[in-house]
C-alpha cells in the first residue's frame, strides 16, 4: 500500500510496457488484469491487493494477490480452482473475497460471467465445421493467369470444335439428319460431274436456240424432258469416278427440298437452258440464276475453246 501510489505515478507518467493506446481508449495487456483497461484501480502492478480470474484449458482459476506476500514475487499469486457450475463458482468467489473492496469483487464476478459465456460459445463452434482460408502467393496466381491466357490462345477452340463436329458428320454419327450426308453427297457429285461433261458437248448446238426468246418455252419443255430422261439414264450407269465438282452443286443446296434425283436433274437442266436468258423470267429463280451465270459463263468460254 505504501508503494502503490508511487508505482502508479511512475508507470502511468513514464512508461508501462503493458499499456496499449488505441483510438477508443487505453488498454492494459497484463494477463492478470481484471477489466483490461489501464486504470488506477485496475492496474495489477499498482494495487497490492488484487484478484482476477484466469482460464487454463477450459478450467477457471481465481487468482489473488495480497500485500503480505508483496516481497515474495514467486509466491505472490494465490490460485483457487473454480467449479464448473456458474453459481457455485460465484459462491466461492464471494467466500474468498469476503471483505475485499466492492469494486474488485464486482469486477471479478463480471469477468467470470464473460468467460463462461465465451467458453460455451467456443465449445459450440468447435463442433461445427469451419472453412479454412488458404492463401496462395501472388506470384503463383499471376503465373497461373499467364499460363491460362497462353493455353487459351494455343487451343484455337472454335476451330477445334468445328473440326470435331465435321469429323463426326463425316463418320456418319448424325445419320440422316442433315441434307449433306456424305455418301449421297459424293454420289451426287459424281453424277453432276458426268452431267456437266455431257452438257458441255451439247451446249454448242443450244447456243443458237437460246438467243431467241420466242421458242424458248417450248424448247424448255423439250429440253427438260430430254435432260430428265438422259439424267435418269445416267444415274443408273455410274461412269467415271471423276470427282469433278462443278458449280452446279450450288443448286443442290438451293433445291434443298427436292431430294429426288430426277427432279434435281430437271431443275438443273432448266437452269442450264436459261443460261443466256437473263431477261425472261428472272424472278422465277432469281437467286439461282445469278449464281449459275458465272459458272456457265466460264464453262461456255472453256467449251468455246
Amino acid at each position: 500500500m505504501q508503494h502503490d501510489e508511487v508505482i502508479w505515478q511512475v508507470i502511468r507518467h513514464n512508461h508501462c510496457s503493458y499499456m496499449a493506446k488505441i483510438t477508443t481508449g487505453i488498454f492494459c495487456r497484463n494477463e492478470y488484469n481484471v477489466t483490461g483497461i489501464c486504470n488506477r484501480s485496475s492496474c495489477p502492478l499498482a494495487n497490492s491487493r488484487y484478484a482476477t480470474i484466469r482460464d487454463h484449458d477450459g478450467v477457471f482459476y481465481l487468482y489473488m494477490k495480497s500485500i503480505e506476500r508483496a516481497h515474495m514475487p514467486d509466491k505472490l499469486w494465490e490460485r483457487v480452482k473454480l467449479p464448473r457450475n456458474y453459481e457455485k463458482a460465484l459462491e466461492i468467489i464471494d467466500k474468498h473475497l469476503m471483505y475485499w473492496p466492492k469494486f474488485l469483487v464486482h469486477k471479478t464476478k463480471q469477468r467470470l460471467t464473460k468467460m463462461t459465456q465465451m467458453r460455451i460459445r467456443m465449445r459450440k463452434l468447435a463442433l461445427k465445421t469451419r472453412e479454412k482460408i488458404m492463401t496462395t502467393p501472388r506470384k503463383e496466381k499471376k503465373r497461373e493467369a499467364r499460363r491460362e491466357e497462353k493455353a487459351e490462345k494455343a487451343a484455337v477452340l472454335e476451330k477445334n470444335i468445328e473440326k470435331e463436329l465435321l469429323e463426326r458428320l463425316r463418320k456418319g454419327v448424325y445419320g440422316d439428319i442433315y441434307n449433306y450426308p456424305v455418301k449421297e453427297y459424293e454420289k451426287v457429285l459424281e453424277m453432276d460431274s458426268l452431267q456437266a461433261a455431257n452438257e458441255d458437248e451439247e451446249e454448242e448446238p443450244e447456243i443458237e436456240y437460246v438467243e431467241g426468246y420466242d421458242g424458248l418455252e417450248e424448247e424448255l419443255e423439250d429440253d427438260i424432258e430430254d435432260f430428265g430422261g438422259l439424267a435418269m439414264n445416267r444415274a443408273r450407269a455410274i461412269g467415271d469416278n471423276s470427282e469433278d465438282e462443278d458449280g452446279d452443286e450450288d443448286e443442290d443446296d438451293d433445291a434443298e427440298a427436292d431430294r429426288k434425283r430426277g427432279r434435281k436433274e430437271s431443275s438443273l437442266a432448266l437452269r442450264k437452258v436459261e443460261k443466256g436468258d437473263a431477261g425472261s423470267k428472272p424472278k422465277k429463280r432469281a437467286k439461282v440464276l445469278v449464281e449459275v451465270e458465272h459458272e456457265d459463263a466460264d464453262e461456255r468460254q472453256t467449251a468455246v475453246h
Binding site: K128, T129, E131, E140, R143, E144, A145, R147, E148, K150, A151, E152, A154, A155, L157, E158, N160, I161, E162, E164, L165, L166, L169, V173, Y174, G175, I177, Y178, Y180, S193, A196, A197, D200, S242, D244, E245, D246, G247, E249, D250, D253, E295, D298, E299, T302, A303, H305
Partner: protein, 364 residues
Amino acid sequence: MGWKRKKDEVEGDDGFVGGGDNQRKRKKATAAATEPKEKREILPSMIKNKEKRSAVHAKLKQQKKLEKRKKLKDRDAAEKRALELGEEPPPKKIPRTIENTREFDETVCRPDDEELYAGNECDEFSSVLKRESTPKILITTCRFNSTRGPAFISELLEVIPNSHYYRRGTYDLKKIVEYANHREFTSVIIVHTNRREPDALLIIGLPDGPTAHFKLSKLVLRKDIKNHGNPTSHEPELVLTNFTTRLGHRIGRLIQSLFPQAPNFRGRRVVTFHNQRDFIFFRHHRYIFESKESKHTDSKDKKMKNGKGEEVSQEKVIARLQECGPRFTLKLVSLQHGTFDTKGGEYEWVHKPEMDTSRRRFFL
C-alpha cells in the same frame, strides 16, 4: 591508346637490356591485343552509356527483323517457284510448340491398353456411362453466396440437363452428400464463391464416387457474350478433347457422367470441354452445318479443259457455331478417391506448387 602505353611501359621497364627481345615481345603483345578486339563483338549490354546502348540495341533489332523478313520472302518465293515448275515445294517446317515438346509422360493412355478398358468397366462412372442410369445432378453453393453465384448457377442449370438447385443452408457437406444419396442423385456440384465471384467447383460423384476440386476462372456469363444464342432443352452433345493421361481420362469420364448419354442430334447443341495444358475450357454452342462455296482458280485452269483435274470452284461443308451459355475454364486442384472428406480422405492426385517447375509437363 592502351597498347601504346603498354609499349612505353615495356620500354621503360626493361630499358636497354634485351632490346631485341623487347621489340619482339612488343609486337606480339600488340598483335595479340588487336586480334581479340576484332573477333569480339560488342554486345549492347557491355556499353555503359544508356543512349548509345539503346541505339545499338535498336539497330540490332532492326537488322534481325530485316533478316527475318528476307528469310520469309525467300521461303515463299521458293515455294512458289517449286509449284510453278510442278515440283514438290520444299517441305514445310513444323513450328515448335509447347504441345510438341511436351515432356514424356508414361501415364498417357494408349489406344491398345487393356487395363484401361478393364478399369473403365468397373469404375464409378460405368453405370451412368453405360446408360444404365440417368444422371441426376444436385447443384448448390458454399455457405456465403453472393453476386455472380446465382446467375452462374442458373446458367449451369440450363446447360446440364436434369439438374436441380438446392439452397445451401448451413449444412455440412458430408450431410449434403448423405442427403443426395438418399434422394438418388448421381452427382453433386458445389459452386464456391470468393470475393463475390465463383472461383471453385467441386464435383462429387455418388454414391461413393471421386471428388474433384476445380479452380474456376474467366467466367463469362451469357449476357456478356456478343451475339449469344439461347440454348434449347435438347440433350446436348459432348465434346471432350485432349484428355491424354490416365488422370485426364478419369476426369473426362467424370465430366461425361454429368451428362446423359443419349444426345439429341436434332437439337444441335454441343458442350465442349477442351483440355489444353491442364486447363479445361468449357464452351457451349449451337451449331449448324452449311455448305460454303469457295472459288479456287488456278493459273493452270485456263489451259486445261473443264472436267479434268482443276476445279473452278469448290464446295465445302463447314460448321458454324453460335455461342450460348457461359464460358469458363477449370483447373484441377485435387482428386480424392471417396466422397468429400478432407481430413480422412485418400487423395489420388493433389496439385503441389513444385509440380509447376517445368513448363513442358502437364498432368491431364
